[in-house]
């Protein structure tokens, strides 16, 4: 998996099943540990984004083989729908956060870039996600983040999802102004924000957004 080989990961997953290994054990002691190593190497700049993206794909290929043999579902920290806002074609920051979330045990649905407001909400409902993660590098696209919040409120869905934001022009002040639940300066801090929100009681209205990485 660390080498990003989907075919080899799927083959090894099949071999694990053939050898009678519990698929949950294969995930917890094989894939999850492997992704932890990948995440650590990425943080130390021993691996780079493409390798981590391919490792995440290899993990998914293995899970696809293991899943039909599982009695229950895979335990994940949470489910996140992520995308770059309408009008913004920059995606490296969003890809980085998506990858870091996956590496840290989240199931991530990536809508890509230039995503219309309503598409986030439709996917959140369809996939029953916990978190809607919004990214933007451009101020004119960032303003669509508040429309996501307003539309959720209008549809009486705001309490169902945590909304977190990040990217170049976003600030803690903007997060508070538009009423989202979290903001992180860097990708790793975005994961910490997601962790804190998942630890909070679902549906509980926060007095202030969770902010990690603000500077003086």
């Amino acid at each position: 998996m660390q080498s990003g080989d989907e075919e080899a990961s799927a083959k090894l997953a099949k071999r694990a099943i053939d050898n009678g290994i519990d698929p949950v054990e294969a995930i917890d002691h094989g894939l999850a540990k492997g992704m932890k190593i990948v995440g650590d190497k990425f943080s130390k700049q021993e691996m780079f984004l493409p390798e981590v993206m391919l490792a995440a794909d290899a993990m998914k290929a293995a899970i696809a083989v293991l899943r039909p043999h599982m009695k229950g579902d895979i335990t994940k920290k949470g489910k996140v729908v992520i995308g770059t806002m309408c009008g913004d074609i920059h995606d490296i920051g969003k890809n980085l956060v998506a990858t870091m979330l996956e590496v840290n045990g989240y199931e991530v649905i990536d809508l890509g870039n230039d995503v219309p407001v309503q598409r986030f909400i439709e996917e959140a409902q369809r996939s029953n996600v916990d978190i809607i993660a919004l990214s933007s590098l451009i101020t004119a696209s960032m303003f669509y983040m508040e429309d996501v919040v307003k539309n959720l409120e209008g549809l009486k869905l705001r309490d169902k999802y945590r909304v977190i934001i990040g990217g170049g022009p976003t600030t803690p002040g903007y997060a508070e102004e538009i009423g989202v639940d979290g903001w992180g300066r860097h990708a790793e801090e975005g994961v910490q924000v997601a962790d804190k929100l998942m630890a909070a009681k679902k549906g509980q209205k926060l007095a202030k957004p969770v902010i990690i990485g603000e500077v003086q």
Partner: protein, 463 residues
């Protein structure tokens, strides 16, 4: 032989198809790695010498980067197709690249962009301002004037208007077209108000899509043919129809004076500093071939800090610019993406290190600045832009080894906190709104840093 815009647009529709994820995660990273290996460039990053002084290393990066572009081409995000060129075409494109562009006006605001080599004595052009920084509409004109008033600012760089007459400007709405003209009018009024009516401007910034460009250029009272039309390509080696709209428009309406840049990201799709330096060589060529830029920017950004004044970025920036400027006659730009804010000495150290590196590495244009990495609204002033202009103008002829020593002395003063840098003070707190002069606190920091840099050998006496 010359590949015209119409042919580029054909190839954007009909080139080889490839899913974007394959381009990002497999095709390009693997090609970059292969070229680094073929040219023995792996592990050439030297943290002890942040400014490269090795010509043969720069030349090897050029050869590898040239081949990389011939084998990759550019990626069109709208059609998922590669826009590819033959080696012969790329050589002709480089041969056809301009070496001189004269713009501005008939008086002292005339500006000459000339091809430069590393350690060249020719003066580069400073194109500075609050680049990409969200500036409140109420103070927008004053902010522009507080920057344009300094004569070390050759051309003014646009900043972002978040609202137009109180309305938030959302991407792809008609307000983007509207703001193209509106922003242009504010610029023309601001530069005229400080007695520099012909001063060129690099814009439009408030609408990143094509609408601002199409709306602002050619409109009476807004942007003119003498201004610099901005075309920014997304990482890595990508283009799209919003950019190609601007190209098609600029070639006819602007008579071919497009200026743009592309960040190759350390830690991103191209890997470490070596991969980023290599990709940036290809990006400079790509932007000339696909976006027809008069001034092209194959630049570096660190994905972790989102700035480019850290040690790895400075090294990669020096290598890629020396590669580009020793081996082609393209007019190239460097761009300062600093992370500390105004009213801190660190932001000036960042500007001195990377700005000086741009000058000694042969860039024809030094651009920026971006206090706080453009994150915090209104975190800009005239002073750091004046300082960037001074660095650009005093360092022509400076040697790379001397710049390396300066970088070695200054980097330890700011590099430890680049992940969480001091954001400093906003324009409201750093500038007197009546006189447009910096506060005493900010001016004193500026004088102190200049004294310190003078002792390190920066020749401010040449100004």
């Amino acid at each position: 032989m010359t590949v015209e815009i119409i042919e580029v647009l054909d190839r954007a529709e009909n080139g080889p198809i490839m899913p974007v994820k394959e381009w990002d995660a497999k095709f390009l990273p693997q090609l970059i790695n292969r070229k680094l290996k073929e040219y023995d460039l792996l592990k050439t990053y030297d943290p002890n010498n942040p400014v490269n002084t090795d010509d043969s290393l720069a030349d090897a990066y050029w050869k590898a980067g040239f081949e990389l572009f011939v084998e990759s081409g550019a990626y069109n995000l709208n059609t998922s197709r590669r826009i590819v060129f033959t080696e012969r075409e790329v050589r002709q494109i480089l041969q056809d690249a301009p070496t001189l562009w004269v713009t501005g006006g008939p008086n002292e605001d005339r500006v000459e962009f000339r091809k430069r080599f590393p350690e060249d004595k020719t003066r580069p052009v400073s194109v500075v301002g609050a680049m990409g920084i969200y500036v409140d509409e109420e103070i927008y004109s004053k902010v522009l004037m507080s920057i344009a008033q300094w004569h070390d600012v050759d051309c003014l760089l646009a900043s972002t208007l978040p609202t137009v007459r109180g309305r938030k400007i959302k991407a792809r709405t008609p307000l983007e077209t509207y703001v193209g003209k509106y922003e242009g009018m504010l610029y023309r009024q601001a530069v005229a108000a400080v007695g520099r009516p012909w001063m060129p401007v690099w814009c439009a910034e408030s609408a990143a899509s094509e609408y601002g460009n199409l709306g602002g250029y050619g409109a009476p009272g807004a942007y003119r043919q003498q201004d610099l039309a901005i075309i920014l390509a997304p990482t890595e080696l990508k283009t799209g129809y919003d950019m190609l709209h601007k190209v098609a428009h600029d070639i006819y309406a602007m008579e071919g004076v497009a200026v743009g840049n592309h960040f190759s990201m350390i830690g991103g799709y191209c890997g470490g500093p070596e991969g980023a330096a290599l990709a940036a060589v290809s990006a400079a060529i790509m932007q000339r071939a696909v976006h027809f830029l008069t001034v092209t920017g194959g630049l570096i950004l660190n994905m972790w800090t989102m700035g480019n004044c850290d040690r790895q970025s400075v090294w990669a920036d020096s290598v890629t610019h020396q590669a580009q400027n020793r081996n082609s006659h393209m007019i190239t730009l460097g761009l300062l993406s600093n992370l500390y804010g105004c009213v801190t000495p660190e932001v000036l150290y960042e500007i001195a290190v990377l700005g000086g590196t741009h000058v000694v590495s042969g860039c024809s244009m030094v651009s920026g600045t971006r206090p706080t990495g453009c994150r915090y609204p209104n975190h800009t002033s005239g002073l750091e832009n004046k300082f960037a202009g001074e660095i650009a103008h005093c360092m022509p002829g400076f040697k790379r080894d001397a710049m390396n020593e300066i970088a070695k002395a200054l980097l330890p003063k700011y590099e430890k906190n680049l992940m969480h840098p001091n954001k400093g003070k906003s324009w409201y707190e750093n500038t007197d709104p009546k006189t447009l002069m910096p506060t005493k606190e900010w001016w004193d920091i500026y004088l102190k840093v200049k004294k310190e840099l003078t002792e390190l050998g920066v020749p401010f006496d040449k100004l």
